[in-house]
């Protein structure tokens, strides 16, 4: 009966005008809908194939569960390999409650048991029983989605592959005609995508899952091999399976469209802030501190962490080398107490060895923590260790994605990177420097039996930063920045700097003394001359006074004489006026 109706609807379908755009059913699997630009082809089968343990069944189950919960599309799971109970137990760890979904009529599982030893073939047969069961299951929940996991088991369980092939072809037709979005799983075959060549029947969309182990670390990858009538990402996308199900990370799904903030965030040290245009880092930028072992990268990171915490920002600190306790203790030794930040909960330290996860799992772990905690600052200390997990290319691609992700979220990202001794200092192992906005380089300068630390800003996008390399020291009071000695003989640090500075000071002192001496001499000379002048003036004044006195004396005497003459003349009654008129002229002569 369904057969005849199916045939009718095939014809009806073929005649009906096709809509130009392919309709898609969102899978609900994190990341997959981005890659496929909307999901799996609606009303068509999708083949999910891969080796054993690659996650095919889980993929299929998540497709159903998400469909039922998120998109209101009930589903049927036709299990050929596991019983309903086994399936329920297997996916319970992912938070999928299958019995409840079944009770709510959102999902139904039909376990199809195929046991070769119990079956004897005695003539012509078809798979109408499977069709009937499928139809019954579909109608019992009003299913829009169907999973066949994995239909290839039929080949091992039933004789006569020719009949099976014809029936499977008919099954896919039937599924298409009923507009069911189907996920078919298939085991990877040799030379073929699947052992039984299922790809022959499922030509609309093929997804390949892969599970590789590289250097003892496993990575899962997904590739959309084919997607008829749709654009799709063709890369291999790493994915992982954790307690939230599938997470596929599109390598390049994010563009450079993040907004740039003008807000600044202090480095935690006034001198360092000053070097970075006076205000510190940009918020939401990526900062890299590179340096050889023991240059204090972690301290610079912790400085930022504490300052950000003190300004009420949340900080997520991924420590790949030290435990939280160790970090706290070590930072206390340089006067940085992280405990208040930790107890307030503004700082969260997540310490784990990089090798506990594959790269992708790290990325997802970071994604998840960032989405949960919503920090303003994320510190990764150090990123160099990531190489121990994957190859350089993989690490770089992972960090690119991470930086993109954090930038889009507006999170200030602080990386530390270990430079291996002997390598060029201005080179990071991961070659991620081009992704970095602000790059501080810490270096050890070795000279005369000591190592001294210098800090320089290699670049800092968007700010007028200092070109000066500074020497820095750590003490129990914290970080101290000191200008390095910059002279004709080069950059000097440490004792050499102190010696050179002392030498310079001595020379300067000598000049100063000389100058003082000369100035004193000048003063002395000036004063001497002035004294002489004064003495001469006094002498002159004295002489002038004496001369004046003489003049006065003579004048007085002359006056007196004239007076006496007048008196005498009056007494003689002489002609005083004539005498008087002539006398003054005659007087000096006489």
């Amino acid at each position: 009966m369904p057969r005849t109706s199916a045939k009718k609807s095939i014809r009806a379908r073929a005649d009906a005008p096709r809509s130009p755009r392919l309709e898609k059913a969102p899978s609900g699997i994190q990341g997959l809908d981005e890659i496929t630009e909307g999901g799996l082809p609606r009303g068509r089968p999708t083949l999910v194939c891969g080796g054993p343990g690659c996650g095919k069944t889980l993929f299929a189950m998540e497709f159903l569960v998400r469909g039922a919960l998120r998109y209101g599309e009930p589903g049927v799971f036709m299990a050929f390999e596991e019983t309903a109970d086994e399936l329920a137990a297997n996916v319970a760890s992912l938070g999928f409650d299958l019995p409840r979904l079944e009770a709510q009529k959102k999902l139904t599982i039909d376990y199809v048991r195929v046991e070769r030893s119990e079956i004897q073939e005695t003539g012509e047969f078809d798979l109408e029983g499977l069709f009937v069961r499928l139809q019954y299951a579909v109608s019992s929940v009003g299913a829009r989605r169907v999973v066949l996991d994995t239909i290839e088991s039929l080949f091992s369980g039933l004789p006569n592959p020719a009949i099976l092939r014809a029936e499977i072809r008919r099954l896919f037709r039937w599924l298409k005609d009923h507009g069911l979005t189907v996920v078919v799983t298939g085991e990877k075959g040799e030379g073929n995508l699947t052992r039984q060549g299922l790809e022959e029947y499922v030509s609309d969309c093929v997804i390949f899952l892969d599970h590789r182990v590289i250097e003892q670390v496993s990575t899962r990858r997904l590739r959309v091999v084919k997607y008829r009538g749709s654009v799709h990402g063709t890369n291999e996308y790493p994915f992982l399976i954790d307690e939230n199900g599938f997470s596929i990370l599109p390598v390049t799904s994010m563009g450079l469209s993040h907004r740039a903030s003008n807000q600044r965030i202090s480095t935690g040290h006034p001198r360092l802030d000053e070097m970075l245009g006076g205000q510190g880092y940009y918020e939401g930028s990526s900062i890299l501190v590179s340096g050889t072992a023991g240059t204090g990268k972690t301290t610079i990171a912790a400085l930022l962490a504490r300052t950000a915490c003190e300004h009420g920002r949340r900080v997520l600190y991924f420590s790949f080398e030290e435990s939280q306790d160790q970090l706290v203790r070590n930072m206390r030794s340089v006067g940085l107490d992280l405990r208040p930040c930790l107890s307030r909960g503004t700082l969260r330290v997540i310490a784990s060895r990089p090798t506990v996860h594959g790269l992708e799992q790290h990325l997802v772990a970071i994604h998840k923590q960032v989405s949960e905690l919503k920090p303003a600052v994320v510190v990764l200390d150090p990123i160099t260790n990531m190489i121990s997990v994957g190859t350089v290319t993989e690490s770089r691609s992972m960090l690119t994605r991470l930086i993109d992700f954090l930038k889009v979220k507006g999170v200030t990202t602080f990386f530390t990177s270990l430079t291996i001794g002997g390598k060029a200092l201005e080179e990071t192992d991961l070659g991620i420097s081009s992704l970095i906005d602000t790059w501080l380089m810490l270096a050890m300068v070795r000279s005369e039996g000591e190592r001294n630390r210098t800090l320089a800003i290699i670049k800092s996008r968007g700010m007028a930063h200092s070109n000066q390399a500074v020497e820095y020291r750590f003490s129990s009071r914290g970080l101290e920045l000191v200008d390095t000695y910059l002279g004709m003989s080069g950059v000097l640090t440490g004792t050499a700097r102190l010696v050179k500075e002392a030498e310079d000071r001595a020379v300067l002192d000598g000049y100063r003394d000389d100058l003082e001496l000369r100035e004193r001499e000048r003063e002395r000379r000036r004063r001497g001359a002035e004294a002489q002048v004064t003495a001469l003036r006094e002498e002159l004044a004295a002489e002038v006074a004496q001369i004046d006195r003489g003049i006065q004396d003579v004048t007085r005497r002359r006056e007196r004489l004239l007076h006496e003459r007048q008196v005498m003349a009056r007494s003689r009654k002489a002609f005083a006026p004539s005498l008087a008129g002539k006398r003054p002229k005659e007087d000096p002569r006489s």
Binding site: M1, D110, V112, R113, V114, E118, I119, Q120, E121, T122, G123, E124, F125, D126, L127, E128, G129, L130, V132, R133, Q135, Y136, L154, L158
Partner: protein
Amino acid sequence: MKPPPRRSGRAKGRPAKKAAPRVGKAPRAEKVPEWDLRLYVAGQTARSAIALENLQRICRTHLEGKFQLEVVDVLKNPQLARGDQILALPTLVRKLPEPMKKIIGDLSHEERVLIGLDLREARSSR
């Protein structure tokens, strides 16, 4: 214990086929049939008819008087297909004697049916 509900199921499942119950009449009198067979078919197709015919012939020949046969149309009772793990049609299920056996196809290959039902041995021992 078991026969009554099965009979009723059969009656519901396949009232049109009177041939089947008739074949099973003799064992009912014995109350405990040695052989309990169930034939699953989908509708009244030619293949179903051939299978039933073949089965009846074989039963008459080899199991006269000690079997019970029930014909189930899965189109009418789809849930029964699930219960007995029916996939291919037609399927003959030997419920008794244990162990359960499944024979698929239209039963036209009599030799294989007999092997499948373990009747080759049963006949030779008798």
